[in-house]
Amino acid sequence: MERESVCVLGGGSTKYGKLDDSISDITLQASVGAIESAGIEPKEIEAGYISNVFGVADKQVHLGPVVMSNLGISECPSLSIESACGSGSVSFREAFANVAAGFYDAVLVTGTEKVTHTGTDWTTTYFSYCSDFFYEGQAGASFPGLFASMARAYLHEFDATEEDLASVAVKNHENGVLNPKAHLRKKISIDDVMDSAVVASPLKLYDCCPFSDGASSVILCNEKFAKEHSKDYVKVIGSGRGGSPAALQGREQLTTIPSTRIAAEAAYKMAGITAKDVDFAEVHDCFTVAEVVDSEDLGFFEKGTGATAARNGDTKLNGSISINPSGGLKSKGHPIGATGVGQVVEAFEQLTGKSGERTVNDAKIGLTQNFGATGASCAVHIFQSV
């Protein structure tokens, strides 16, 4: 089948963090940002894809029609997509597929989340519903606990230390300081991480990303539409999705995430490239160990060497592969329905010269990887500058 060439034409984000505005307000703010960045009129949008998990916590689900109405395009069709922390990338994939298939010339993809007002206890409880609840959440495993179990398996199996994991947090905070929209803009040291309170051993507070509010949005369109509107667009050259057993107990190995490997293989194949061709990657670092595992599953490092690579600085901004130049989930923040779209905004800004101090030098190809829960679902996308 001949596919339309699909492009990201514009991107917008609210600041990530603890926000006062309502979920419908921040969803609108990010959407307007994307529309104005793209230089299009709302009436040119043919469909809206909204990714969100806990709208119910801020008394608004069915966000699509609310946003469309406030954009003056109430007759434009829209839908909401939930896939836990991977909602944004999955929604982006569905939008991509529809533009690629020629159903639409241009669509709005907005991810959004508003949870911090519910408090840490409730947010932790809500998040646990994203696990295979019967075996995990209900049986006492919080998300830090699930990733801590993966971290212990990783540290047991490979030559890696808790300090190596901490170096991921230190690096992402370094990048986040350069990102005006990041949630935690604070430089930290290895000692800060090691001395922070143990949440679920071996993970400590600074190994964990924060709970964040925030919204991110992009305009996705075919290349003809893009060319008619702006010079600042990037091509989506690869898209892949994958799945894993929902519960950790169903996986033969706990130091790899099958859905990432499956999604990455599909995305690399579509793009006709390998991991070596990627200049930077926005990966799903909900916990430090996740970034290490991701960096291996995406093919940047051999299995078991990702922690060493992080310790050696290979993943720093303008290192051998810049990982999470935005600051990642760890520092930029993790509004779970928005995160996957926020990664695309970062890729768009990096490849169109809009990322200021955190720019990856001479970047031509960027990759985004965002998963749901412990990687039970995942989407990987690859972007190229024009």
Partner: protein
């Protein structure tokens, strides 16, 4: 439309799974076609796609594969903290299940490979103890 379910297994076996765990066992299913063993909450065989199974009761003893110590307990687990949430591998079958193990203060108290057993299922999940 009439769906045809397996005559051998219930579509949802959670109540039976819970009952078995209360007796220290794990309810599993053995595929009649390829002999793959799966937890009873699965309805199609992941290896061959068949849904013809025979029930198999597995003894709930095995070894710790990985775990965490939950120092910040979620709601409903305050009474157990610090407790371990554990993925264990059952002896013989290689099937993995997860549950919680109360009063584990430090990692030294539960090295990977420690023998553990299923001792029950309370309103939360599988209860484990060290052997």
């Amino acid at each position: 439309m009439q769906f045809t379910y397996s005559k051998v297994c219930k579509l949802s076996a959670k109540p039976e799974f819970i009952e078995a765990a209360k007796s220290g066992n794990i309810l599993a299913r053995k595929c009649a076609k390829c002999s793959e063993i799966l937890l009873a909450t699965v309805y199609y065989c992941k290896s061959c796609g068949s849904k013809e199974f025979g029930d198999t009761i597995l003894k709930g003893t095995g070894k710790v594969v990985t775990y965490t110590i939950m120092t910040v307990p979620p709601a409903g687990f305050e009474d157990l903290a610090p407790y371990a949430w554990v993925v264990m591998e059952l002896d013989d079958s290689g099937i993995r299940v997860s549950g919680f193990l109360a009063k584990i203060p430090t990692p030294e108290d539960l090295p990977i490979g420690t023998p553990v057993k299923v001792t029950g299922f309370d309103e939360r999940g599988i209860v484990l103890e060290k052997l």
